[in-house]
C-alpha cells in the first residue's frame, strides 16, 4: 500500500529556510510522529505533503501519486485533522459530515449511511442534530476526527490533535487513534506533547529549524540520545532564593522526598556553615562528580546519568535539597536536542 514518501524536501520563505532537505516515509499501518518546537516546520511539512504548498526542491508521493501535480486526487485517500477546528458553524454535526463527504464526490446516500457509525465512533451518538456551537472543545475535536474519516481514508494526517483538550478528552482521542491503527490505517501525527508521541508513535522524528535531528522508535531515540536516568534536584521551598519550584513536577517531587526531609523548614540546616544552599549552587559545585551531564534551569538542576545510586545516597544526606528520580523520557531528549530557549 502506498502511503507517503518524502525525499529531499526543501522550502524557503524569503531568506528563511523553513525546510532543509527532509527525507522520510510512512510504513503502512504505522503511526509516525513529527515532533518539534513551534516554527520547526511541522505544519509546513504537512502542507507540502498535501500539495497546499509547492516545495522549492524535493519529491513527494502521497498515496502513490506525485504531489503537488496530482494532489487533488491524492487527497481523496487522506483524512485530515487540522490544528485549528474549522467545522462549519452554520451546520449540525450530521450536516458537517454530509457536506464534507460531498467534497470527496461521495453520493449523499453513501454518506448518510456512514454518518451514524462515524458519530458513534466519535462518541457523539445522539448528537447528529446538535449545532456546532453547543459542542465542547473535546466534542468538536472528535467531530473533526469523524469528518476526517468520512471518505474512509487509508492515511490520516493529524496536526496537534489534542492541543487544548482536557485529560479525559485527550485519552479518548488516543483510544480512537489506536483503534484506527488497529484497523490498518497509517497515521502521520504532529505534536509537541512528548507523552502523546511516546504513547502512540511507532516511529518519530524530532525536527528543529527544518531538519530532522533524530529519528527512530521512541525507545531508540531515547537510548541513542540521552542517559537512561534523570534526577531532578530542587531547592527546598523557602530555602532557595527563587522560592518554590514551579509546575506540575511539584506533586511528584513530594512523593519522592526522602523521609528524613519531611520536617518543616525551621529545623533545616543546609550546609555546615548554617546557610541554605540553592539547587543551582549545588549543581555548580557538586553535581559533576555524580552525573554525566547537568543542566540548570532556574532553581532546578537536571542530572542525567547512567548509575544513579551514588547521587541518591548523596542527596539523602543533604538537607535543603529535594529530588525526583525517574527514567529518561522523550521530553528529555527533545529538550536536549532543541534546547530550553523559548520558541515564539
Amino acid at each position: 500500500m502506498d502511503t507517503l514518501n518524502v525525499n529531499g524536501l526543501a522550502k524557503s520563505y524569503g531568506s528563511t529556510a523553513v525546510l532543509q532537505g527532509l527525507t522520510f516515509e510512512l510504513r503502512p499501518g504505522e503511526c509516525y510522529g513529527l515532533l518539534g518546537p513551534n516554527g520547526a516546520g511541522k505544519t509546513t511539512t504537512l502542507r507540502c505533503a498535501l500539495g497546499l504548498t509547492a516545495p522549492d526542491a524535493g519529491t513527494i508521493r502521497l498515496a502513490g501519486l506525485p504531489v503537488p501535480e496530482r494532489a487533488r486526487e491524492a487527497r481523496s485517500r487522506v483524512g485530515i485533522v487540522p490544528q485549528m477546528d474549522n467545522l462549519d458553524p452554520d451546520f449540525t454535526a450530521a450536516e458537517n459530515l454530509l457536506v464534507y463527504g460531498r467534497y470527496f464526490g461521495l453520493p449523499d446516500r453513501a454518506v448518510h449511511e456512514r454518518i451514524p457509525r462515524l458519530l458513534e465512533f466519535a462518541g457523539l451518538g445522539g448528537r447528529a442534530e446538535a449545532k456546532i456551537n453547543t459542542l465542547s472543545g473535546g466534542m468538536k475535536r472528535r467531530l473533526t476526527l469523524a469528518r476526517a474519516l468520512v471518505n474512509d481514508p487509508d492515511i490520516l494526517f493529524l496536526d496537534e490533535p489534542t492541543t487544548g483538550l482536557d485529560p479525559q478528552a485527550r485519552h479518548l482521542i488516543w483510544e480512537r487513534l489506536k483503534q484506527l491503527l488497529a484497523q490498518g490505517k497509517t497515521v502521520l501525527l504532529t505534536t509537541h506533547f512528548m507523552d502523546e508521541a511516546e504513547r502512540l508513535c511507532h516511529r518519530l522524528a524530532i525536527m528543529d529549524r527544518g531538519r530532522f535531528i533524530a529519528e527512530g522508535s521512541p525507545r531508540e531515540v531515547i537510548a541513542a540520545h540521552i542517559e537512561p536516568e534523570v534526577v531532578e534536584v530542587y531547592g527546598e521551598p523557602g530555602g532557595a532564593p527563587a522560592g518554590p519550584p514551579q509546575g506540575g513536577a511539584a506533586k511528584d517531587m513530594e512523593q519522592a522526598q526522602p523521609a528524613n526531609e519531611q520536617h518543616p523548614l525551621p529545623r533545616e540546616r543546609g550546609r555546615g556553615d548554617g546557610s541554605l544552599m540553592s539547587a543551582a549552587d549545588w549543581a555548580r559545585e557538586e553535581a559533576a562528580q555524580f552525573a554525566t551531564r547537568v543542566e540548570v534551569t532556574g532553581e532546578t538542576a537536571f542530572c542525567y546519568l547512567t548509575e544513579s545510586a551514588p547521587l541518591l545516597r548523596h542527596l539523602a544526606g543533604r538537607q535543603g535539597l529535594r529530588y525526583l528520580h525517574r527514567p529518561a523520557n522523550l521530553e528529555d531528549v527533545f529538550l536536549k536536542l532543541t534546547g530550553r530557549d523559548l520558541r515564539d
Partner: protein, 259 residues
C-alpha cells in the same frame, strides 16, 4: 509555480456551491427580505417622491426608468457583499476554505464556487426585485425575462471584482475603501438613477468603461419591452470583466493561501 497561471477548475466546485446554498437556505427568508427591502425603499421613495417632480425621464415615467437601474444596482450590491464579507468570513475567520482545501478540492474549484455562488445569490435578489417591479406593472413584455440572464452575468462580473478585493483584504475594514472609492462612484455615473447623457463628456467616457453601466444598458430596454442596442458589446464587456477579474482574484488567492 506561477500564481497567475490560467485557472483550471473542475466540477468539484459544485459541492462547494451546494455548501453555501445549504447555509443560505437556513436563513433564506430574512436574506431575501433584506436584499429586497433596501432597494425597494430606494426605488419607491425616489420613484414616487422625485418622480412626481419630473415629467418623464428617458421617455418613460421616472419610476419605470428607475426599475432597471434598481435591478442592476441591487444585483451589484448582493454579489459584492457576498464576495466580500461572506467570502472573507469563510476564507479568513471561519477557516471554511482551509477545511475544504484539505478535501480533494483545489483552490481553483473553491474560488469558482464562490464566484458562481455570489452570482447565484445576486440573481435571486435581482429576480425578486424583477418580480416586484412586474407586480407594480412597470414591465411591458415577456422580453423582461431576458433580464434574468443579464442579472446572472452582471452578478458574475461584480462577484469576480469583489473576490479580488477579498483576496487582498487584511480585515473587514478594508472593504470600506472598495465601497467608497469604487462602488458608490460607479453607481452614480452608470445610469442607475439618471441617464448617463446628463453627465459631462469625461464622465460619460468613464461610465462606458464600467460594468454597471453595461448591465443597465442591457436591462433597461429589456424591462421596457425592447431589444437592447449593441447587446453583444455589453455582454462581451460584462463577460470580459467576469473572466479577467476571476483570473486575477484566483491568482491573488493562490498567492495568499498556497504559499
Amino acid at each position: 509555480m506561477n500564481a497567475f497561471r490560467p485557472p483550471s477548475p473542475s466540477l468539484r466546485f459544485i459541492p462547494v456551491w451546494r455548501r453555501n446554498f445549504l447555509v443560505w437556505r437556513k436563513l433564506a427568508i430574512p436574506s431575501v427580505l433584506g436584499n429586497l427591502a433596501d432597494p425597494m425603499i430606494y426605488m419607491l421613495g425616489l420613484g414616487y417622491g422625485l418622480g412626481a417632480l419630473l415629467p418623464e425621464v428617458g421617455g418613460v415615467s421616472y419610476l419605470a426608468f428607475l426599475a432597471a437601474g434598481t435591478v442592476c444596482f441591487s444585483t451589484m450590491n448582493a454579489a459584492t457583499f457576498e464576495a466580500l464579507y461572506s467570502a472573507f468570513s469563510r476564507m479568513q475567520v471561519q477557516k471554511t476554505w482551509e477545511a475544504i482545501l484539505n478535501a480533494p478540492v483545489a483552490l481553483d474549484d473553491l474560488v469558482l464556487a464562490e464566484l458562481v455562488w455570489a452570482a447565484s445569490k445576486a440573481s435571486l435578489s435581482g429576480a425578486a426585485i424583477l418580480a416586484v417591479v412586474a407586480a407594480l406593472g412597470l414591465v411591458s413584455s415577456p422580453l423582461a425575462l431576458w433580464a434574468l440572464p443579464v442579472v446572472f452575468l452582471a452578478g458574475l462580473a461584480f462577484a469576480a471584482l469583489g473576490l479580488i478585493v477579498t483576496a487582498l483584504a487584511p480585515s473587514y475594514d478594508f472593504f470600506m475603501y472598495y465601497f467608497t472609492l469604487i462602488v458608490t462612484p460607479m453607481t452614480l455615473i452608470s445610469g442607475v438613477f439618471f441617464p448617463v447623457e446628463q453627465l459631462p463628456a469625461a464622465f460619460q467616457a468613464l461610465s462606458s468603461l464600467l460594468p454597471l453601466s453595461h448591465a443597465v444598458k442591457l436591462a433597461r430596454p429589456l424591462l421596457l419591452g425592447e431589444a437592447p442596442p449593441a447587446a453583444a458589446l455589453h455582454i462581451a464587456v460584462l463577460a470580459g470583466y467576469a473572466v479577467t477579474a476571476f483570473w486575477l482574484a484566483l491568482g491573488l488567492a493562490r498567492r495568499r493561501l498556497l504559499k
